[in-house]
């Protein structure tokens, strides 16, 4: 008796009319993506997979080498593991920090007080500064002698480290720089906060909840869809982190900021070993896929959709 209420067993059966109708409808709606995928995406994906099994050097013909690239990465390449470590370290530091800071700022800016439009623009400004200007700006801020950060710390009586020149502080410095462009995520959290019905807070206040409890039991659960979005995208971004390290530190000092994507880029474009780099890319793909699936699976436990 109970069995009938369980999920349908996996067995081959023809689709009901409704399911067929929904399937057709769904595919029609996502057809732009399907077409784009077939034209622009599928070839690069499969060609990079193919190259990962060859010794392709960008010029001349690729020769099949089977799994040799993958084997070399795991057995013969110190930089592979070092760059993986650097990237995971960065990810574990940057993700929690950015979620906490973004939510904090969104709550801070979510009020009807005067000047909020102005303040929101302020926090959003960094995301629109062109990359060429950002790098120069941040080199100044993090300058050990006269930079803004160390000067402020000096006023507070703290002796700041030479940030980007210090192997121990280079990665945290880059996380700090990354937090600067958190404005886009703050906007998303703001939009989500705006959509939380006032009645919930009223009801809670009537029940005697203080603001911390309101935050914990109303605000946070209601914005979990955005947190989920932030986590998934943040994971993909953190594992592919490249530009700032390339421009500001060049992987240094002493390979402290040699991230996975930077190492990959050097293999591809400087050493002209595109086959090897493609293998690296696919290993990263698998790692990110696993991390994302973990987040997606766990999301059923903590993400709340008002459905």
């Amino acid at each position: 008796m109970l069995k009938e209420t369980q999920l349908p067993k996996r067995r081959i059966r023809s689709l009901t009319r409704q399911e067929l109708h929904n399937l057709r409808l769904g595919l029609v709606f996502i057809s732009p993506w399907i077409i784009g995928f077939l034209i622009f995406t599928i070839y690069p994906i499969f060609s990079s997979l193919y190259y990962s099994f060859t010794d392709y050097g960008l010029f001349g013909n690729p020769n099949w080498v089977g799994l040799q690239n993958y084997i070399n990465l795991f057995t013969n390449d110190d930089k592979f593991f070092l760059s993986l470590y650097n990237t995971v370290f960065f990810f574990l530091l940057a993700m929690p920090a950015s979620v906490v800071v973004a939510i904090f700022l969104a709550i801070l800016l979510n009020s009807k007080l005067r000047g909020m439009t102005f303040f929101r623009s302020l926090f959003f400004l960094p995301t629109i500064v062109p990359a060429v200007a950002s790098a120069a700006v941040w080199m100044w801020i993090l300058n050990p002698q006269w930079g803004l950060l160390n000067t402020s710390l000096r006023l507070a009586g703290v002796h700041g480290p030479p940030w980007l020149s210090d192997p121990d502080w280079a990665k945290p410095s880059l996380v700090f720089v990354a937090l600067w462009t958190i404005g886009s995520e703050v906007i998303l959290y703001l939009a989500a906060l705006q959509e939380i019905p006032r009645d919930y807070y009223e009801a809670a206040r009537v029940d005697g909840a203080n603001s911390f409890q309101q935050t914990r039991f109303i605000t946070l659960p209601m914005i979990t869809p955005v947190i989920f979005f932030h986590l998934v995208n943040g994971t993909i971004w953190a594992f592919q982190y490249f530009t700032e390290a390339y421009v500001m530190t060049g992987g240094g000092p002493a390979n402290a900021t040699l991230f996975y994507a930077l190492n990959l880029y050097r293999n591809a474009f400087t050493s002209l070993k595109m086959g090897y780099a493609s293998a690296q890319a696919w290993i990263l793909f698998i790692v990110v896929m696993i991390a994302t699936l973990i987040i997606v699976r766990s999301s059923k436990g903590w993400v709340y959709y008002e459905e």
């Binding site: 050097g57 960008l58 120069a136 080199m139 030479p162 992987g251 240094g252 390979n255 400087t270 002209l272």
Partner: protein, 429 residues
């Protein structure tokens, strides 16, 4: 159905965009006229000037060969485009290290037979050091030099005077350099206020120093990597030793405080002696810096090493996939050997001419002439014109950083470099 209308609108928009997109068509290939696609790393203004020079010196004698120049593209973009099927005939790279890697992979046209048909001795026309970067071990040429650059010794005459040293006489050798450095360093309240000598943050400067001690990074006869050359080790130990005398931490803090462009401690009068590029002369002028300084060869460790300096070039290469190899070479040869273009463009970008004919009267600024002269000295050479030079440079930079952050001794760091670079070089045999 609304969906059909949407699709139709999308198609129309695509058509409109295609029509308005304005594809730059290449002129129909007639038997007479050829258009060469010329990519380079110079910025828009520099490309404008280059185009004017081309109009002035090339077009009158080659009206049938048109040049389509595109700037701001570095080696990576050129690589992407050419691998992606784009036609690029001639390119100028802003850094010589990719040439031999690209040549090895078959990206570049072998210019040797073309050069031979010019019936000239290359060493008569070109400054020899610039040629090393474009010539393979077997003597084949895969590029031509274009505007060289090198580095030299800079000293602050005011600070010399203050320390009681003759401002017009730089140290004559390494020992005297160390001596002067001690005299020129001022420490107050446990912090360095003025430093006599520092080059440890710039790996290229460290290369200069090592060469100045007679160090060889590779064996010109075999092309083998020789990072563990004892003279290189000696240079590193010398510099590290000097830094330790002043306090390595203090020196690092001092130097790290001047990161970023424009924050050159020498330019700001805080550093008495250092190694800088030939372009710094113009840079200081443009920055409005009123510094009384002198330039010269780096004090040699040994009389036979006088006027040692490391020379690099912006190589001109012809891509192998070009459809007009004859014309492409002709244009490349023009760029490389024309003394007027060399003189004018080198001055524009604060570099040095690559042809001997342009050396005389190159500049009214005597300091620049010092560098021109240096680049042609018998001891001028490229530091590592090998197939894996870009990789070598990265490994060297990492080694320098680990030495000066105290995580490796100079000997160990050099061993690591030797091991890694040799392994890499073996892949290109």
């Amino acid at each position: 159905m609304k969906l059909k209308r949407i699709t139709f609108i999308i198609l129309v928009v695509c058509l409109v965009v295609t029509a308005c997109g304005g594809k730059t068509g290449t002129p129909a290939a007639s038997t007479e006229e050829v258009t060469l696609v010329f990519w380079n790393g110079f910025n828009a203004h520099e490309v404008d000037s280059l185009n004017q020079m081309i109009a002035k010196y090339w077009t009158p004698t080659h009206p049938n060969i048109k040049i389509e120049a595109k700037g701001e593209v570095g080696p990576d973009e050129i690589l992407t485009a050419v691998s992606g099927g784009e036609t690029v005939d001639v390119a100028i790279l802003w850094d010589p290290t990719p040439v031999k890697t690209w040549a090895y992979q078959g990206a570049l046209l072998d210019l040797t037979s073309y050069i031979e048909s010019q019936k000239v001795n290359l060493e008569d026309i070109f400054i020899p050091a610039g040629l090393e970067w474009v010539r393979q071990m077997d003597g084949k040429y895969y590029g031509l030099p274009f505007v060289n650059f090198n580095r030299g010794f800079y000293w602050n005459k005011d600070l010399f005077r203050k320390a009681g040293l003759d401002p017009d006489t730089p140290p004559k050798d390494i020992d005297q350099l160390a001596d002067y450095a001690r005299k020129l360093t001022i420490v107050e309240n446990g912090e360095i206020q003025q430093l006599g000598w520092a080059i440890n943050q710039d790996p290229s400067n460290m290369v200069e120093l090592a060469m100045d001690f007679g160090g060889n990074f590779y064996d010109p006869a075999t092309g083998n990597i020789t990072a563990t050359d004892p003279k290189i080790l000696k240079a590193l130990n010398w510099d590290l030793g000097l830094a330790n005398e002043f306090g390595l931490e203090k020196v690092n803090t001092f130097v790290a405080g001047f990161t970023g462009q424009g924050n050159d401690p020498f330019m700001l009068g805080k550093l008495a002696m250092t190694i800088e590029g030939c372009w710094s002369v113009t840079f200081f002028e443009k920055a409005g810096v009123t510094l009384d300084y002198g330039v010269g060869p780096i004090p040699a460790a040994d009389p036979t090493l006088q006027k040692t300096n490391e020379v690099e070039t912006n190589p001109i290469v012809v891509m192998k996939s070009t459809k007009h190899p004859d014309q492409a070479f002709e244009f490349a040869w023009f760029l490389a050997s024309n003394a007027d273009v060399s003189r004018e463009f080198a001055q524009l970008v604060s570099n040095l001419p690559q042809v001997k004919a342009a050396m005389a009267n190159f500049s009214a600024e005597p300091k620049t002439m010092v560098f021109v002269d240096l680049s042609n000295s018998p001891n001028a050479r490229g530091w590592a014109p090998v197939t894996v030079s870009a990789f070598y440079a990265t490994e060297w930079a990492t080694a320098i950083q680990s030495i000066y952050t105290g995580s490796a001794t100079p000997a160990d760091a050099l061993d690591t470099v030797q091991k890694n670079v040799t392994a890499e070089a073996d892949k290109y045999k």
